[in-house]
Symmetry: C2
Subunit: 333 residues, 2 copies
């Protein structure tokens, strides 16, 4: 089976129903946004051994790669239209792997109403890598940017924070529970994040700035602050944790702080004017997704951090560098 | 320097002037096609050691990656709008490498009027890999597809075929010349392909089907035939070769045949009705790009090859499997 058989057998079916995908038989796809909309583009690569354990099952890899990219759109208030998939496959990949991988993509396509538009498949002597360019659309000029936060805006976050970091620790064998069901729930939060596709579009007109929590709550809120030219104060006690995370960190405050920088939550962190509080609570009720107010936007102080985390007494808590960074050890000069 | 510094220093300047790129400070970019146009999407990944020699200088890698992707758009009749860049960087990459790489991209952006819209940067334990999603636009419903060829259409190709394959052989030390200038010209055809950006749009309304020659003339014309449901007959003697390629293959007919399957030419192979011959010759004159008629489209014969290559006597010449295929040795079942 060569790359053309592979595309025909496993990936062309994922493009069915999208006329512009041309059955994946062309060099290119055609995309025409609906009238009155802007397209929203996001691109994310995930590499085995860097972004997920190399032994992750293929359908889980596929589903997570899709969800990570869908989450970017959700945070922007956009609805998905389609995606391109670029696969770098090691020689060890076999047909059963490909079949399961394509099955994972198909499941996500069904759930999120998104279709494969095109892509590229190549072999690599390196690890498996999956690059998805996700294309969404949003009403003209309505995309929620990182740069719109203002002083005194509230800071909100959806769902709860930290489970994905704990789940990865379970998956890596660094954290164990007496009851394996506890570990399974946390691991599922890492492997199977829940992009907040309904929350994002509902925040258009309410949120002043928004990002999804991929690098870590502190880091992603920091990106909003830097892009907006402000700072943020958040209260550690207000950051929503699951019951498991709360009980696990009860006696270990430094672990609790670490959850704020752990990343992979794929929740939405956003800012909104105080006047929007009631409307935000209605979004939470209507989408069934908890939304918690955790702090506020403040003036930028050049000496201070972009995001200050305070304890119940109002003192600043040290949170480390705040989020995962590639090349964090420095790129040689 | 972490990934955010890296983006700010080397890549954000490449997005200047494109409002929708949001200075690369957001999770996503905004793109609004011009009224009356369709967007055309193409995606290509290039991996060091697979698609180009690993020791290729960084600005050359950048320029080639851009040109390979621009060529896809050209073949579709589209004009470039912007691109996303996903970089997988090995640890050995340093700032001087990044600076030269970004410089290569900047040079191409100037030449082809295209702007960086967004992307992702990650480290990898594997080889350097560059994924570009190129986004172009074309008048509504005018994209030239692979699937439009009809029986008795002429088959044309731009420029000349085979130099890139010979150039790669020079670069790999498998082919040498007494005069190093001869090798340099051929290598440049591999490293610095010339996407036919002006020819493609001029073929709208003339060409019935089109593809760029990346996998090899026979393979890419074969894709047109399969997508269109026809076959093609081409005459080997008519395939345009450079003077160097012609002299090199004068006494080695099997090498000459190999050039037709070698790939990396980034010329355009297209079909057009006989009635368009004069108009096609005018496109050649107006763009300054040679366009050569090399054969015609015929009925599909299930037993025959999609593309039959004939010698001057009209006999079919054996051309092997016709083009580079990843996983050509078979993916394990």
């Amino acid at each position: 089976m060569d790359e053309f058989d592979l595309i025909r057998r496993y990936f062309a079916p994922l493009s069915a129903g999208e006329v512009g995908a041309l059955d994946l038989r062309d060099d290119a796809a055609i995309l025409r946004p609906d009238p009155g909309t802007d397209l929203v583009l996001s691109a994310d690569a995930v590499v085995a051994g860097i972004h997920f354990p190399a032994e992750t099952p293929p359908d889980t890899i596929a589903r997570r790669a899709m969800r990570v990219n869908l989450s970017d759109l959700a945070a922007k208030g956009a609805r998905p239209r389609g995606y391109t998939l670029v696969l770098q496959l090691p020689e060890i990949v076999d047909e059963s792997w490909l079949s399961a991988f394509a099955g994972g993509l198909a499941a996500e396509q069904d759930e999120f109403a998104v279709t494969l538009l095109g892509g590229d498949t190549t072999c690599t002597p390196g690890p498996l890598a999956i690059t998805i360019n996700m294309i969404g659309q949003v009403s003209k000029n309505k995309m929620i940017k990182r740069s719109g936060a203002h002083e005194d805006d509230d800071v909100f976050v959806t769902g709860c924070i930290g489970d994905a970091m704990l789940g990865l620790a379970c998956a890596m064998g660094r954290l164990t529970f007496d009851d394996p069901a506890d570990a399974a729930v946390l691991e599922s939060r890492f492997y199977h994040p829940d992009p907040r596709m309904n929350v994002g579009p509902a925040l258009i007109g309410l949120a002043s700035a928004s990002a999804d929590v991929s690098d870590g709550l502190i880091a992603d809120l920091g990106h909003i602050c830097v892009a907006s030219g402000f700072a943020a104060d958040i209260v550690e006690e207000l950051v929503p944790l699951s019951a498991t995370a709360r009980s696990l960190t009860k006696d270990d405050l430094s672990l609790r702080t670490a959850l704020l920088t752990g990343g992979d939550d794929y929740e939405i962190v956003f800012t909104a004017p105080v006047s929007a509080r009631k409307a935000v609570s209605i979004v939470a009720v209507e989408t069934g997704v908890p939304i918690t107010r955790i702090g506020r936007i403040s003036k930028r102080n050049r000496e201070g951090p972009a995001v200050a985390v305070r304890n119940a007494a109002g003192d600043i808590v040290e949170v480390g560098h705040g989020g995962y960074r590639h090349f964090g050890n420095g790129v040689a000069g």
